[in-house]
Amino acid sequence: MNELTHRRRRWGEWLAERGIFAVSLSSILMVFLIFAFVGREALPVILGQVNTARARPTGNLAAFLGVTEAELKTYDAETVKTLVELKKEELAQTTNPDARVNTTSWHMMFQPYRWFGYDKPEFIWQPVGEVPKYNFVPLFIGSLKATLVALLFAVPLGVASAIYVSQLAPPRLREIIKPAIEMLSGIPSVVLGFFGLIVLATILQNVFHYSSRLNALVGGVTLGLAVIPVIFTIAEDALTSVPKSYSHAALALGAAPWQVAWQVVLPAALPGVFAACVLGFGRAIGETMIVLMASGNASIVSGSIFDSCRTITATIAAELAEVVFGGPHYRILFLLGTLLFAVTFLTNLAGEMIVHRLKARLEGA
C-alpha cells in the first residue's frame, strides 16, 4: 500500500470518528431542545408578562383589543378606531368584577380565590368562559389521584410477580411468563384506554355501584395496566442482578427457597424495587391517552376515587387543539407541560441513580 492512500485512509478514519461522536451527541441536544422549546412557549407566563385582565391600562393596543400584532397591522385606522370603541363599550357593560383580575398570576394558579358569584374561595380550572380560571390545584389532585390508584394496583402485582419469576418459577415457566408480561408494554396506551372506557368501566361500575361511570378508579386501574410492565421489568432486573453467591450461601445454610427470596435476595435488591416504583410513578403521571379516555375529565376538587378526575396530561391533550396560538391559555398549557417534564426528569434521574448505585454495589460485592 502506498503512502498516499494510507494517509488518506487515516484522515477518513479521523473524520468518521468525529462524525460518529457528533451524531451521538444528538440525544443530549434533543433533551435540551425539548426543555428549551416547551419552556420557551411558557416563558411569558413564568415572567408574568401575560395578563388576562380586561380593564388593564392601554399600553399595548393589540393586547387591549385581544388580537395579535400581525392582525393589528392589517387593519386600517378606521377599523382600529371602531374596534377600540366597541371594546370600551364592552368593558363598560361588563358587570363581572373578576374581569379586572389577571388570572395568570402565580397566586391565582395555586391559591383558592373567591370568584364573583361564589360564597367561598375555591380552586377552579375553567379556561374557557367570560373570565378564564387557571387554577392548577384540581389538575394536580386529578393526576395524583389517578397515579395513586395506579400504583396501589400495580406495585403489589408487579413486585410480587417479579419475585416469583426471578426467584421461584421453574426456568421453563419463566421463559413463557416473562415475554407474556412484557407483551403488556407492547399494547399501545390508546388501546388500553379504549379497554378501560368500554370494558373495565362497565365491570367496575357493576361491582362498586357508583354514579359517575368514568372516574379516578377506572382511569387509575387502566393506568395500572400500563405501569405493571415498567415495575415488573425493573424489579425483575434488580432481583436477578443479586449475585448467585448470596442465595447459594443461604441455601447451603438450610434456608428454603422462599426464605432466600424473601430474606436474602429481596432485601439486597430493595433499592432496585424502590427505583421500579419511582419510575412507575414517572410513567403513570406522564401517561396521556389512558386518563384522557377513562377518567371522565371533570376538573373537580374531590378526594373520592369514585369521582371523575382531570389530569395534567389529559388537560393538555384535550385543550391544546382549541386554543388561540400564543394566547394565555396556550401558554398556560405549555407551562403545565414544562412542570410535567421537570417532574418526570427528576423521577427518572432519581430512579436511574438508585439502580446505578445498586448495580455498582452488587457487582463490587
Binding site: 443530549i28 402485582l157 416469583y164 403488556l184 403521571i285 406522564g286 426528569f345
Partner: protein, 305 residues
C-alpha cells in the same frame, strides 16, 4: 421427602397468583379485542375509506388510517435508524465507559425514554411545526404558509425523537453481543477500526439492529399523544399527497371514535375492528422483536460465558 412448610406454600402461592393475575389480564384484554374485533374484519373494512359514513359499521373502513400510520412510521424510521445506530456504535465501539461525556449521553438517552409522550407533542408543535416549519417558510416562501402547520413530516420527526432511545438501546445490545474475537481478528488482519465496524461488527449485529427498528416502529405506530397536534387529522376526505399534508392514524382514530361518536353502541364494531388492526400491527412487530431479541440474548450469554 420432608413436608413443605405452610409459609413456603403461602409465599409461593401469593407471588404465583400475582403473576397469574397479570398474565390473565393480558389474556382477557387480547381475547376481548380479538373476539369482538374479528367479527368486523372483512376486505371491505380493511380497504374501505370513511367517506360514506365514519360512524356506520356497515360502511366505514380503515384504509386511510392504515395508510397514514404506515407512512408515518416509514418516514420516522428513515430519521431515527441512522442516528440511533451511529450513537450506539459510538457508545459501544469508541466511548470509554466511565468518561463523563459517555455518562451524560447515557443519562440523556434514559431521560429521553422517560419524557411523557404529551410533552413530545408540545415539543413537536413548538419546535418542528412553529420553529423549523416557520423558519423554512420565512426562508423559502417569504412567510407564506407551507411548512408551519401540522403535517405528516412533523409528526414523523417528533416520533423519531421519541423512538430514538428504543433504537439506541436495542442496537447497543446487539453490538455488545458480537464477540470481541471478531474485532480482534479483523484488526489483526490490518483492517482499520472503521472498516472493522462497517464490514465485521455491523453485519454481525444486523438482526439486533433490525429488532431495534421493529420495536421503534411498533412504538411509533401506537403512540397517539405526540401526533395529536403535529399532524394527525380527525377526518380527511383524501389520502395525504405528500409529507406536508395531514394524515389519519389508527390510534388517533380509536380515540376519536371512542370519545366523539354520537352513538357509542353503534360505533363499537368499527371501534373493535380498528383496535384489532392497530393491535395486530404493533403486536406482530413487537412479537418479532421479542423473539429475535431472545435469540440475541442467548448468543450474548454464550459469547460472554
Amino acid at each position: 421427602m420432608k413436608i413443605r412448610d405452610w409459609r413456603s406454600v403461602a409465599f409461593t402461592g401469593a407471588t404465583g397468583l400475582a403473576t397469574l393475575c397479570i398474565v390473565a389480564m393480558v389474556a382477557v384484554i387480547l381475547g376481548n379485542i380479538i373476539w369482538n374485533g374479528a367479527a368486523q374484519m372483512s376486505l371491505r373494512f380493511i380497504f374501505g375509506g370513511t367517506s360514506e359514513g365514519m360512524f356506520d359499521a356497515q360502511k366505514a373502513g380503515v384504509f386511510p388510517m392504515i395508510f397514514g400510520t404506515v407512512a408515518l412510521v416509514f418516514l420516522m424510521t428513515i430519521g431515527v435508524v441512522p442516528v440511533g445506530v451511529i450513537t450506539a456504535v459510538y457508545l459501544t465501539e469508541y466511548a470509554r465507559r466511565e468518561s463523563l461525556i459517555t455518562r451524560i449521553i447515557c443519562g440523556a438517552i434514559n431521560n429521553l425514554a422517560g419524557v411523557p409522550s404529551i410533552v413530545f407533542g408540545l415539543f413537536g408543535l413548538g419546535f418542528f411545526v412553529q420553529f423549523v416549519g416557520g423558519g423554512l417558510d420565512k426562508l423559502f416562501y417569504g412567510g407564506e404558509l407551507h411548512y408551519a402547520k401540522p403535517a405528516l413530516v412533523w409528526a414523523a420527526t417528533t416520533m423519531a425523537v421519541l423512538t430514538l432511545p428504543v433504537v439506541i438501546v436495542a442496537t447497543e445490545e446487539a453490538l455488545r453481543a458480537v464477540p470481541n474475537g471478531f474485532r480482534e481478528g479483523s484488526l489483526a488482519l490490518g483492517a482499520t477500526k472503521l472498516e472493522t465496524i462497517w464490514k465485521v461488527v455491523l453485519p454481525q449485529a444486523l438482526p439486533g439492529i433490525l429488532t431495534g427498528a421493529i420495536l421503534a416502529v411498533g412504538r411509533g405506530a401506537g403512540e397517539v399523544a405526540p401526533i395529536m397536534f403535529t399532524g394527525a387529522a380527525y377526518y380527511l376526505a383524501h389520502l395525504p399527497k405528500g409529507p406536508t399534508d395531514q394524515f389519519m392514524h389508527l390510534g388517533y382514530h380509536v380515540f376519536v371514535l371512542s370519545t366523539q361518536s354520537p352513538d357509542i353502541e353503534r360505533t363499537k364494531p368499527i371501534l373493535y375492528g380498528t383496535v384489532l388492526v392497530l393491535l395486530a400491527l404493533t403486536f406482530l412487530l413487537n412479537l418479532t422483536a421479542v423473539l429475535v431479541r431472545a435469540g440475541i440474548r442467548a448468543k450474548l450469554r454464550a459469547a460472554h460465558g
